[in-house]
Amino acid sequence: MTVKDYETGVTPNWCPGCGNFGLWQALKQAVAELGLDPGEIVIVAGIGCHGHINNFTQVSSFEGLHGRPIPLATGIKSANHDLKVIVSTGDGDCLGEGGNHFIHASRRNHDITVLIHNNASYSLTTGQSSPTSPAGYKSKSTPYGKTEEALNPLALALSAGATFVSRGFVGDVPHLTDLMKAAIQHPGFAVVDILQPCVVFNKEFTFEYYRQRVYKLERTSTERSLALKEVLARNDKIGLGIFYQSKEPSYEEKVQLTKQKALVNQPLKNYNWRKLSNEFY
């Protein structure tokens, strides 16, 4: 499979220079290298600039409601766990509107991959601040500087129980490609926080800003509390790589009914009527 096999042919309408181009390239590259069938990949997106990815990528997809791709994705996975389910979500979509779902899906360890298109801005609605914009950030909704501190998505993922917690940067596509491959192959809930400059609305977090601060993690921790410490460290450096990975049974592995066969492939009449109705007599 090549990168072209995963393109619908529709020209992306992201702004020239948008961080999404790098992200998209890495994603296509990752699935091509993994040789995944386009029909069997389902990208579930929310609403934001990230959501348009489904118009350009020739894979099965569901563009859902703002903040709600994660439960939608877990429902798809429950029905057919043979599908490779990838959530494309934004920092606002995932951590604002959809925060509750992010926490619980992490806890359940669903075998899905969550790619957070993190540009620290609500760009599609023309530039309001988002959960990952820092205190003092100036935007259309915070013209005098944002009051509250930014949310730390990886700290949240770690404390909620995600079993693969990582960060990438669209300014390093080869690294991001490998990261995505690892995340997709991880048999559990994989979070990739992807630093993605928004060249139109976020004048603070530019490519240059990130290039001066990112560093590659030396190793991946298998100790959750240590990874948490790393992720919460208050310094000017931003780590890229897999902070934490562990092997635990995914939610789907624990469901008895679908151990042998995906739910969608089971016969429609799969019930024991006598056992079901006996108690009413």
Partner: protein, 568 residues
């Protein structure tokens, strides 16, 4: 001769009243009678005032009543609260060691030392079973039939528990036999004693399973929580994957996702949860993803009185969510309809590729009725147009009837669903030409469906002095009122137009029926007469005479009878 017998058990929450009541209902059914029962409880876990009441008959019975022939008062305030409902000649079972009860004119008192006898049988927790034994004697019933029920209810408990309960029942029975004469003989048995006793919620669950349900995501909320409980207990036998989501928004999104991937999916909720789900209904509408949503109404607004019934969300359910898309709302009124209409809801959802709401209320959800069995043979499965696999599937292909063939994501089949307006392949498209085409395609489905709305149910004579209109839980009390009146006043002809398909609305049939009517009475459980408003919107007909109730209680046949007599 009376052919309806009404019993009521009252006491604090946490005293096992519901189980006791359920046992007596089953006893009545196994004795060959029909029963309707209902429980009333406040929103708390211990204390308060709980009741379980039922109406037993040799005929088919469709509703409970607001009168009592035998009251089991486990505490003094039960007598205080329900004194007015006692019929002349009614009886009160109570424990004289718990409280003393002064004589009441025309009422028979049955002081039975329930706790003392329970301790004698082995444990004071069996006081209710002692009462059951007494109830069996006082209704001239057979103790061995009660024992058969006890045996089944306590089947998974230790041998000594079952034996203890047999003893407790016998002690209650014998004590009563010694001291009292029966209240009266219930009329002769009519059936073999093999019938189900089932509530709307469980009937909905069974209907869904029979229709091939595979996935459900339900957040607990009164009055639909027992759908979750039942499905959870029977996941294996039902062949389903059941999840308890973090919130209702997650639940319905999970169901929509599962449906998109190819399985029949269900959610259930009440008003507050439905409000949270509403955006996702719109999502299902535009992405043309089937999903069945059970909406059990209760008294609001907001938290309202959570454990009480109402029909206040009718207009809301009928019109909820942003945008225009095919809306299908069914309104089953009893356990039988719950089973069949829920099963049919899955077909409608998949054939028309749109969300279907099954609108019920607490009385429908939780009242138990006796019925023979559900006819599985009547359940048919129609998954609608399933398209031939294509590498890139045109999920929203334009079609004459508005229905595009459907496909599920799989190896070699790319399928795209999109909450944005989209072209035939599911790619976002805001152009004028495409927008018009897709809107018209989706709404064409309504025109296709409207022709298929089943014929209405008109109960009673075709020509009548009065036509009553109602939906949902008013059906039972209305039928009881009509049947009671037909015995009292055979000259009075009353029929009942029962609406269990609300949207698309069968306007032509309803208009035609109401235009023939001499007088019309609208009966509903809300303040604004919402069904009447909807009916007027659809047909232009305004119903002037209305009986509206909004106190959190279901209608009683007695009050309907009074109103009918007033009008005619």
């Amino acid at each position: 001769m009376k052919n309806r017998f009404h019993f009521k058990i009252g006491g604090l929450a946490g005293e096992g009243i519901m189980v006791t009541g359920a046992i007596f209902s089953k006893f009545a059914v196994r004795s060959g009678y029909n029963v309707m029962d209902f429980a009333e409880y406040p929103s708390l876990i211990r204390g308060g005032h709980n009741t379980f009441y039922g109406t037993i008959s040799n005929e088919e019975v469709f509703s409970t009543y607001h009168q009592i022939d035998l009251l089991i008062a486990l505490n003094q305030e039960t007598v205080k609260f329900h004194k007015q409902e006692l019929n002349s000649g009614a009886g009160i079972i109570y424990d004289p060691d718990e409280f003393s009860q002064e004589a009441i004119r025309g009422i028979r008192l049955f002081p039975i030392p329930l706790l003392r006898l329970a301790e004698q049988a082995g444990h004071k927790l069996m006081a209710n079973t002692v009462a059951l034994g007494a109830m069996v004697y006082l209704t001239a019933g057979k103790l061995e039939i009660l024992n058969s029920v006890l045996k089944d209810i306590f089947a998974d408990k230790k041998e000594e528990v079952i034996k203890g309960n047999f003893k407790a029942a016998k002690l209650g029975f014998d004590f009563s036999q010694d001291k009292f004469t029966p209240l009266g003989q219930l009329l002769k048995m009519r059936h073999s004693g093999v019938k189900m006793v089932i509530a709307g919620n469980e009937a909905i669950a069974l209907g869904a399973i029979a229709a091939g349900l595979k996935f459900a995501a339900i957040y607990p909320m009164t009055p639909i929580s027992s759908i979750l409980t039942y499905l959870a207990a029977h996941e294996r036998e039902a062949g389903i994957v059941l999840r308890q989501p973090e919130d209702e928004i997650a639940g319905i999104n999970m169901a929509v996702g599962a449906s998109f991937a190819g399985v029949r999916s269900l959610v259930a909720t009440s008003g507050g949860g439905f409000a949270l789900m509403s955006e996702t209904l719109s999502l299902a509408g535009i992405t043309e993803t089937p999903v069945v949503v059970v909406f059990g109404q209760r008294a609001g607004p907001a938290t309202g009185i959570p454990t009480w019934t109402a029909q206040e969300d009718l207009l809301y359910a009928l019109t909820a969510a942003q945008g225009e898309y095919p809306r299908i709302i069914l309104a089953p009124a009893d356990a039988e309809e719950c089973f069949h209409q829920t099963a049919e809801a899955f077909n409608l959802a998949e054939v028309y590729q749109t969300p279907v709401i099954v609108l019920v209320d607490k009385f429908v959800c939780e009242a138990h009725q006796s019925l023979k069995e559900f006819d599985l043979g009547k359940v048919r499965i129609d998954r609608g147009k399933i398209g031939k696999s294509r590498t890139v599937f045109p999920r929203y292909q334009l079609a004459i009837d508005g229905i595009s063939p459907r496909a599920f994501p799989a190896k070699g089949v790319v399928v795209k669903a999109n909450s944005d307006e989209h072209d035939e392949y599911g790619l976002s498209d805001e152009s004028v030409k495409n927008r018009k085409a897709q809107v018209e395609k989706r709404m064409k489905k309504v025109a296709t469906l409207v022709r298929k709305v089943p014929a209405l149910n008109l109960y009673g004579p075709r020509k009548a002095n009065l036509t009553i209109v109602g939906c949902g839980s008013t059906k039972g009390p209305i039928l009881e009122a009509i049947s009671g009146l037909s015995v009292q006043n055979p000259k009075l002809k009353v029929n009942f137009l029962h609406l269990n398909w609300l949207r698309p609305f069968p306007a032509d049939v309803v208009s035609e029926t109401l235009k023939r009517a001499e007088k019309i009475l609208l009966i509903e459980n809300n303040y604004q007469g919402q069904l009447g408003q909807w009916l007027r919107m659809q047909t232009g007909i305004e119903i002037k005479d209305r009986l509206l109730k909004y106190d959190g209680r279901q209608f009683y046949p007695e009050e309907i009878t009074t109103k009918i007599k007033q009008i005619i």
